[in-house]
Point group: C2
Chain length 418, copies 2
């Protein structure tokens, strides 16, 4: 429920304090006891007690000593890197990528392979094979990995399992989760790839301290990863951010405004022969090819159009240009800004290039997996309810505070609830 404090026995207090200590250590890196004491406001004694417990439960490590001050060396504490592992998977149109990370966020192993496009079973096999390989190389083994997050080019239901609309998955993604699940021992969570890119942007990129932003993923299709209040916004059934289908004057309804296909089409229209890939087109544009530049400009214009529409609805603090096509910020960014300034909304709109050029989806997936795995380990260790159940895994809890209650008389004995 929305926000009730949970009442509880004194034990609750211990949980809370343990969690607070853990959080400080997590945030501020290796820390000595006195610093933890200052940061939490707890007493030395309590901090010591909490640390004893956390170390015993192996979520916190001693990590060397701090001899900066005079006096005895302070032992430093950190989150134990091996207290949780996460498995990130990026199922792309062409390739499958997998990474295993530890609780500290360190990438222990990474692997990739071509994506089998025949059927879901083959795809699942590829994923599990890569995962096993990675877990092996990471020295953990699959069993130690607490959570897997799998990025797919599809609309994913909020349960993190159902695939509602797959853009490039064999058999529309039918049976994919189940097949992968059979091959992997840990809990799985599916997630839209653009959403994961947004997570990566938030955690490793330019949006570290931005509460509301939108990642525009321009690639095979166009999608938006929407982060509001620091959390992914998925929509009622996971369909938020499907901005590729926003109405556009020059595009018929129900087709995508922008994407590889659309770009190719524009290239033909511009009189460019052959069937250059977007990559080649942008190369030509960089070489000064006028027609390619025209296509680039048209692309930028559509991006601007979409960004303006999004801004009118949710007004994020900024937009990030991502995706394979969006990565050509050198060519696109100026033009997008130009079009935005020229005919866009009454609101000023900021667009910046992605801060995660490589493996954005994979890194986002791995981060989220690590987050969940860690959260579970932390909860188990502190006895506290999970801290932030999820900046990307489950629905918001609905607000429960202060619902209207009709005025009720003090009539004895009647107890109507509705």
């Amino acid at each position: 429920m929305g926000g009730d404090y949970l009442a509880g026995p004194q034990g609750l207090l211990r949980s809370i304090n343990a969690r607070a200590v853990l959080d400080v250590i997590d945030r501020e890196g290796p820390l000595g006891r006195p610093e933890i004491t200052r940061a939490t406001g707890l007493s030395k004694t309590t901090v010591a007690q909490a640390l004893r417990e956390l170390v015993a439960r192996e979520v916190v490590d001693e990590a060397g000593t701090d001899t900066a001050r005079r006096g005895p060396a302070a032992t430093l504490y950190r989150v134990a890197p091996r207290c949780a592992f996460g498995l990130g998977v990026d199922i792309g149109h062409l390739r499958v990528r997998v990474a295993v990370v530890d609780a500290a966020g360190e990438v222990l192993a990474r692997a990739e392979a071509p994506a089998p496009r025949r059927d879901a079973a083959a795809l699942a096999d590829a994923v599990t094979a890569l995962a096993s390989e990675c877990a092996e190389r990471a020295g953990t083994g699959l069993a130690a990995v607490g959570q897997a997050v799998i990025g797919v080019p599809a609309i994913v239901g909020r349960d993190g399992r159902g695939i509602r609309r797959a853009y490039g998955l064999p058999q529309g993604g039918q049976g994919l989760v189940e097949a992968i699940e059979r091959g992997l021992p840990m809990p799985l969570l599916l997630e839209n790839d653009v959403n994961l890119a947004a997570v990566a942007e938030q955690r490793f990129g330019a949006c570290a301290d931005v509460g509301d932003f939108v990642l525009l993923g321009v690639g095979v299709g166009l999608g938006a990863g929407i982060v509001l209040g620091g959390r992914l916004h998925r929509g009622f059934a996971g369909g938020a951010g499907e901005v590729g289908f926003l109405p556009h004057p020059a595009t018929e309804l129900g087709t995508e405004v922008l994407g590889a296909r659309r770009i190719a089409e524009q290239a033909r229209a511009a009189g460019i022969a052959g069937r250059p890939s977007p990559r080649e087109l942008f190369e030509s544009a960089r070489d000064g090819d006028e027609r390619a530049l025209a296509v680039v400009d048209a692309t930028a214009r559509r991006i601007a159009h979409v960004a303006a529409s999004i801004a009118l609805v949710i007004e994020p603090e900024l937009f990030v240009l991502g995706g394979a096509v969006g990565a050509n910020a050198d060519l696109l960014l100026g033009r997008v800004r130009h079009h935005l300034a020229r005919d866009a909304a009454p609101l000023p709109i900021t667009v910046i290039p992605s801060g995660v050029p490589e493996d954005a989806v994979l890194r986002g997936a791995a981060w989220l997996a690590r987050h969940h795995a860690r959260e579970r380990a932390f909860a188990a260790a502190t006895g506290a309810p999970p801290q932030d159940a999820d900046p990307g895994g489950r629905p918001y809890d609905t607000d429960s505070a202060g619902r209207p209650r009709g005025s009720r008389k003090a009539a004895p004995g009647k107890e109507d609830t509705t």
Copy 2:
């Protein structure tokens, strides 16, 4: 709120438990001690202690007894209606409305008057005069009112004070807050009118248990009140929901898709003479006037267009049709649905009529004012940090998981490390 548990002394536990008791009482209406004990999981003794404190602080009342069971009569506890009062104001284009509500949500007094349109000072005077009158009639006096929320037809900054774009305020709303502030003793909060209508919808209307919904306010202009995760979404600078400016094929950029002016224009185009108001137009349509019906249909079509665009961005659970024009659900709803089904997005979209036909903005404002006033009273009484800092009043507390952020502490007497 986002994140960290705050560590603290044992006193914290008392706060937490007091708050839990208070919440249960608030949610479940008048309650006896045994029920509170069951609901919170606390022991009888602790509940008794908490209640003693809450009653002493006058946020909780004894309200009769419950003699349903056999045995001694259980005394019932409820939130004291007089522990906090809220003042709601709706500054409309034509009229100003004011209401005073108590902590139970009861409307104690309501008043309205024509809105002076000359200058902000006159408008402010009208507001304060009505407010004084209401507070008088309510028997509380202005000084007892803990919070005022003022709905305006404008984009309001997230601080709840700045007016960024006023649609129908004298002098663009310049100096309005300050002028009202001089006349009212309690803290003020400005809020966009459509946002308040959305709050009303959430609290009194059809969206009581809906986490994500959008209120489409169709009136003098077109705006959307966006509720995500049970909270108002205002956007980075309060500009979210300005969907009136969404691009529309048949409308030039920078002008509103829909609104009284646009409707009048369409009426002219349809060959309707005179300058019928939207109300008259809808009346004619009800009488079967073909040309008026055409205008209605065009209006519905544009509403559908806007709803489809919004849905592609945030995919709310449902849309609510509100506002003076939107209130003609009998004529509009079917047509909107028709157009949505015909050419809309890949997503199914649900549209329902408003459940708050009267005074939506005013009621939303009053609810929010009451909420803040109450929250403050509760916080003071329990010593706990505010429960839900705001389902509509201030920025999100910030991010949640795992990002650098100063820790908070509840311990006395040490210097704060932020």
